[in-house]
């Protein structure tokens, strides 16, 4: 900020939430190290200071998948550990307060899709993330609830992690392992390929965990809110939104696809201070 003609003016405005990138990198590296160390530990060569937990032990979705077996038989689904239930609880609490922050800030699969999206932005510029016709897109957005129901059903019925064979997240951090099914690798490849055209395609259309956390957008404590009195209606917030949410037409973002990335806020793309905010109160 500098003072010109008696007014405080910001000369440089960040166009993105840089600290989110730092957090994303941190969790990507952390999970990658844990996954590699788990493989090393199985052959007795693990690094002692690092956790050698399996990927299933540090994935909160495992906690959701095993809820039925816990409720009906007090047993965890095969390969899932208590830690997954703990993480599921923490992430749920985080989401009730701030929305699906896990998706926007922590999930490494979301991070990798964003990295691929950078290529798409350079290649297609304004057309990027606008290839899918709106009607089709609106329908496809609900497909992830179908995936969620299917995953919960087959897991409850079998008592095993059937979804592992189709899970691109598991494939991403185990592609070197014989445990990964070709179907999971194919879905990972498809996800990364589509990410060049569409921002976070897995999150938008297929992620069952995103479906669970997305529901918290309907009642979260801190929401993205837009001040209609100061809004310039330039549409910048909507253009920037990775999930294509029309923020500029809403007073409070209750869209089930919001990932709380804060890229639409006045701290990032919105040029007017205090207009788009993550807040528990109201806006002017």
């Amino acid at each position: 900020m500098v003072t010109l003609f008696g007014k405080r003016v910001r000369l440089f405005r960040p166009r993105t939430i840089w600290i989110r990138r730092v957090v994303q990198w941190f969790f990507f590296l952390l999970i990658a190290l844990i996954a590699v160390n788990h493989t090393l530990a199985e052959s007795g060569a693990g690094i002692p200071i690092l956790s050698s937990a399996s990927l299933h032990a540090v994935c909160p979705f495992g906690g959701v998948e095993t809820l039925y077996t816990v409720a009906t038989s007090a047993l965890l689904v095969r390969k899932v550990h208590d830690s997954a239930l703990v993480l599921a609880g923490i992430v749920l609490l985080l989401s009730i307060l701030f929305g699906p922050v896990f998706c926007g800030w922590v999930c490494p699969l979301g991070t990798v899709q964003e990295w691929m999206g950078k290529i798409g932005r350079k290649l297609f510029r304004r057309r990027y993330n606008h290839f899918v016709p709106m009607r089709l897109d609106n329908v496809l957005r609900y497909a992830r609830y179908g995936v969620l129901i299917w995953v919960l059903y087959v897991t409850a019925r079998s008592g095993t992690l059937i979804f592992e064979a189709y899970d691109p997240y598991f494939a991403l951090f185990n592609f070197w392992s014989t445990e990964v099914a070709w179907s999971a690798l194919a879905i990972l490849g498809l996800t990364l390929g589509l990410s060049v055209f569409v921002e976070r395609p897995w999150c938008k259309y297929a992620c069952p965990y995103g479906a669970v956390l997305g529901i918290t957008n309907l009642f979260r404590v801190f929401s993205i809110k837009r001040s209609e009195t100061t809004c310039k209606a330039d549409g910048a917030c909507s253009i920037m939104c990775p999930m294509n949410i029309p923020v500029d037409s809403m007073k409070v973002v209750r869209d089930h696809q919001c990932i709380s990335c804060l890229e639409c806020t006045s701290e990032a793309i919105c040029p007017v201070a205090g207009t788009v905010l993550l807040t528990a109160g109201g806006v002017k």
Partner: protein, 248 residues
């Protein structure tokens, strides 16, 4: 109250790592199986370990610690010839039986342990296969219900009787017999009654020779002889004669 990106980052770290630390303090955080299956909480078997909770990461030794079955009998039942059966991990079974055309893995171990230990096990809607030696050992226990016997008979696969752990079992077609060397049909000090069952010696014949009901299949013939005041060499010769009659 408004939250911006930097406080958000701090909140994410505090909630995640604070939550993990808190759950560790409370004893809730576990990234590995305890290798102790959950127990039945009610009914006739309350307090006993539940075989349904046996996982692929368990070793035969882990199972032996929680159930009334030894590592040796598990190795015998599933054709595992390794120096230390207690260290054999259940999850390795599937790879060994991969070429059999039948899924013999953790579920098979669960069912075997349940039947062997006389614990309840629900097979409804499940197709769980069992290698022939395992079925033979279970039938020799004579504690199965007619329904359990019928299920076993319908789900038994004849495989290589001494399939080494590192080599996939061969001839995995029901009804076929496998090749076993004459060396392996020789009674030695470490031979258990389960071996004799697997080799095809009828239970009635063994009971006639020892003059008593069939002992635990996991028991060594030598140990049985010394425990019952029998001469091991004499018993061995008599049993070997029966083995020679049935060996291929």
């Amino acid at each position: 109250m408004t939250v911006t990106s930097k406080p958000m980052a701090v909140i994410v770290f505090i909630m995640l790592f604070g939550g993990i630390s808190f759950s560790s303090l409370m004893g809730w955080w576990a990234t590995e199986s305890t290798k102790e299956p959950v127990i039945f909480t009610e009914g006739e078997f309350a307090g006993q370990a539940n075989p349904v909770d046996i996982r692929g990461s368990y070793t035969f030794g882990d199972i032996a610690n929680s159930f009334d079955v030894t590592s040796e009998i598990l190795a015998q039942a599933f054709g595992i010839s390794v120096e230390d059966p207690a260290a054999f991990a259940v999850k390795e079974l599937e790879a060994i039986y991969l070429d059999s055309g039948f899924e013999i893995g953790t579920a098979s171990i669960r069912m075997f342990v349940a039947h062997y230990s006389g614990l309840p096990f629900d097979t409804t809607g499940q197709e769980i296969y069992m290698p022939q030696p395992a079925t033979d050992i279970l039938l020799a226990k004579e504690n199965l219900s007619p329904e359990q016997i019928a299920y076993l008979e319908a789900h038994t696969v004849t495989v290589g009787e001494s399939a080494p752990a590192e080599v996939p079992a061969v001839n995995a077609v029901p009804g076929e017999t496998s090749s076993t060397t004459s060396e392996e049909y020789t009674i030695k000090g470490k031979t258990i009654f389960g071996d004799l069952i697997t080799w095809g010696v009828p239970q009635a014949t063994m009971e006639q020779l020892i003059g008593a009901p069939m002992p635990d299949p996991a028991m060594k013939v030598k140990d049985y002889a010394s425990a019952n005041g029998l001469d091991f060499e004499t018993l061995k010769t008599a049993l070997q004669a029966e083995v020679d009659k049935v060996k291929p």
